[in-house]
Symmetry: D2
Subunit: 302 residues, 4 copies
């Protein structure tokens, strides 16, 4: 925990280790907002799409706003939605928002700028909303080309965020950081109740201790990002179009119908959707383990 | 209960009385679908907007699809959404739908045709989904000009529906009708657990018995509808535009900024939203108690 | 609401009207304690036995302590349970209590003295617990022979209590009283979310306004109590034993096997349990509507 | 999964891997019983004491029956409780049980005999209840001196059980076994929703594959048990009394007040309660890693 506090340059930070991403989200959301409150996210946000309804199962509505480019939440549209919401004399019949949830990087690999997060945080404080930054893939965002966000800055511009371990090399484990002495009372019991407690709790601590020694966490992430940039270049060189501009280890590529079957047979990737023009949007992901040889193998398949 | 069974011309119907609309929706949804399942509704659907998150509080995500005209769900868009959903190899990470929820009439006073409900019911059965028709304002829909839906037909074209008492003259109470011997086991305990049991249960029965004797329920509703049509004519004659074409006791009128203050001082109505052109969409509602004198008073204020 | 504030002699009291008893309990509990907390009650307490699990359905464990005589909670046993609980170094793996729930009168018709409630309230404040008094049958307790508790005193010796309307003559409706400016934020939305909002809200207000004019509420309750005392005398005169000494409109009588069938055929009452000696404990209840003629009819049956 | 099926000698068994014990219990309970149902356990049962209310948080009441010797559930008392419950004409106002939960070995290290489990299973089937055996410490029970239970037998005498990995050497992970083709539909989505899915799912499989190759799982457990028996002998030789007779790796010893401080300074163990005679009941636990040298160190401290 000390190493994470140091990496955040924030001696007031309170750090907890939880088992996995879904529990981290439900435990944080459930601890921070009240039973009658909801959480605002973009419609493409992870908690609105791929958590199997875990947030609702815990009693909270995900209030989905349309995503701006790259799957980002726009402070301006958030602000005007809130203004309109509270201007409605019937708003107490609706779900009252208690939190804003964003992901860094976004589900589509986009990066918020400092200005964008600051603007969102301002809207949150004006409306008595908690800002939670889901950093399941945080390392990939921080070490991405062009990223303006580092841990100390983030630690000063939101109320709570998490640092994903699982997706950056750990066996399992996520770190939750409350940034200004605002950890909920009895957070340990809440973690336990949500089944988010690692029975062998030491293991999470040891992994994060290792990851935050000599910047290993960031080296792993940076390596994956660099491999992703090379992978992207290979796709482009082979004539594929890029679906969303991503600076992280997830790359989204348009695959024409005629090529899809061949790729599915030879490479592991996710089908993410359709572009409406006959192409499948496919997600290709690199990791700490991706090598140049892997990329050459990919190139030969394409 | 017998009178409702007779009115539905469905001797197999199972009828229960609950206290109010919110509990009716949560009890039915919660009893019929499984804990991991969600309920599909249009984004303007009552359970997605004005239930204060009661459905999510009970653990279920409301999966919101864009509404077609008049706040209806389109069978075609439902079908293609489902096809795409189940074609996604990751769908088990998402909320799996278990029910389709529609309202008759819709929140905007529109009426489904027989063909439209039949088509939705077909999609439901093809996808193993329960079709629930929220009839909090059912009487107003059935007795509206141009309505094709009567109780016996409805009783054959959905799995469960409710007949709102509160909004059609009762002190409180909603009737839930399971149409083909499909009432959930121990439904009484479920009602009790959801706080939907009227302690003085007889009262609900007596009210519905009265309402379904000599068609009182429909006479009340028809009276309110006729008053609503007259009210609409008054607005139009006074130069107001109609926001949504409604055949029921709720009428939606565009009120210019310059008139809004005057009306708010003299009439009770709801502000429903904005049309983006400087007008407020206002909802005016008639009831069993609305008289011609009331309408004349309205006319003189406009 | 003003009349209830006056009856409590407590201008700071915040009063809300809800539909029924189950929702009142779940809404109050759920609003006042946190999601990881539980509520302490005696094992014979209503929320632990006859709410069909509504409290747990809302996410909270009912931590049941053994009841003292008459179904009361003893301040001494509460205190020692809490001392032992917090002395356990593993207590954060357990459900941490956030509230103490008692009923006045108890489920068995017993009355707490002022000293007993004061002692419980002291333990609550020492342990940062909210004290909630479920008064579903409050009128019967206040007007019982020997009762020391009146509304103003109660209003100063607990954090929140309810005044049951349903069981004292109202069609439906319970009043919740927060005693010292401690009503939860957005309590209206919480009521709505729990389905505890009477759609025709005025009705609850009108009923309570009437009940608290000229002491009608207490006259109704007192009448039922007096009828209950007469009823008790009839049973005793006929040779029946009393199971629990009750000063309220509920009387618990031991009925021998040989008489049970005869009584069941002729009178409406509840079988409450067995005394282990071949007798059934039966609950006989009077109300505002009970007349001397009813009691004579009972007498002739016994 | 195949290795577990083989170890159970049950080709119909359906096996799933989950992250940890709390989620395993909530996911199984929540998937198998309905939202209005509760789960019966002894009062000393793990889900009733040390799960921080996770079962209730998921909406289900734990109906606690008094434990028989060693923390066991007695089939006879279960049967008579059920008979009385369903004989009560008001039972639909109560929580209706849907499952019986037992632990093998019990929280106090006791072992059910075959006859005892068979008798419980008979009562369950007569009352339409699912029998779930929580085997978080299953290996220690199966390899204990005098144990009559092996995996194939267990697999034929309950509906679902789990095999704890975490407490028998794994980093994390529990295996859930549905014994007769009775796995709930979409169990994967349920696991995901409960946050019980290990993101790196392969890891759980690899660990269990290793544990069930050449009986490693049982060798680990047997080693810990043998160390526990030696540890027990050391305590007895030193004049300590045994609180509960345990045949597993958990031993419960009475420690007099005068010795407690000294032991707490030198050994890691849990204080479990008090015997009412001035002694603290202390729990000492062995594991795969316990050596004879560890026991000698213990001996020198006592």
């Amino acid at each position: 925990m000390d190493r994470i506090r140091q990496a955040c340059d924030n001696p007031d930070a309170e750090v907890f280790f939880l088992v996995g991403g879904t529990q981290t989200n439900t435990t944080v959301i459930n601890s921070v907002i009240d039973s009658f409150q909801g959480v605002i996210a973009v419609d493409s946000g992870h908690i609105n799409t791929h958590e199997a309804g875990a947030v609702e199962r815990n009693g909270h509505k995900v209030v989905a706003l349309p995503a701006a480019e790259g799957g980002k939440l726009s402070a301006a549209s958030l602000g005007s939605w809130l203004d309109e919401f509270f201007a409605d004399s019937n708003y107490e019949h609706c779900v009252i928002p208690g939190m804003v949830y964003i992901t860094f990087p976004t589900e589509l690999g986009a990066l918020y700028t400092r200005e964008e997060i600051s603007a969102i945080y301002d809207v949150c404080r004006d409306n008595d909303l908690v800002l939670y930054v889901d950093g399941a893939r945080l390392g990939y965002g921080i070490t991405a080309d062009g990223s303006e966000i580092a841990l100390p800055w983030l630690s000063g511009h939101c109320d709570v965020f998490c640092i994903g371990g699982t997706k950056v090399g750990a066996i399992c484990g996520e770190a939750v950081v409350f940034t200004h002495g605002n950890a909920p009372k009895h957070f340990f019991s809440r973690i336990k109740q949500q089944g988010a407690l690692l029975a062998k709790g030491r293991l999470a601590g040891i992994q994060f201790d290792t990851l935050f020694t000599d910047g290993l966490y960031f080296k792993i992430a940076r390596h994956a990002n660099e491999m992703a940039y090379k992978m992207r270049d290979i796709f482009v060189a082979k004539g594929y179009e890029i679906a969303y501009e991503s600076k992280t280890n997830q790359q989204f590529v348009l695959v024409p119908e005629s090529r899809l079957g061949h790729l599915l047979e030879n490479i592991i990737f996710d089908e993410w959707g359709h572009d409406g023009c006959g192409n499948t949007i496919c997600r290709f992901v690199t990791s700490w383990a991706t090598t140049d040889a892997d990329l050459q193998a990919l190139e030969s398949v394409l």
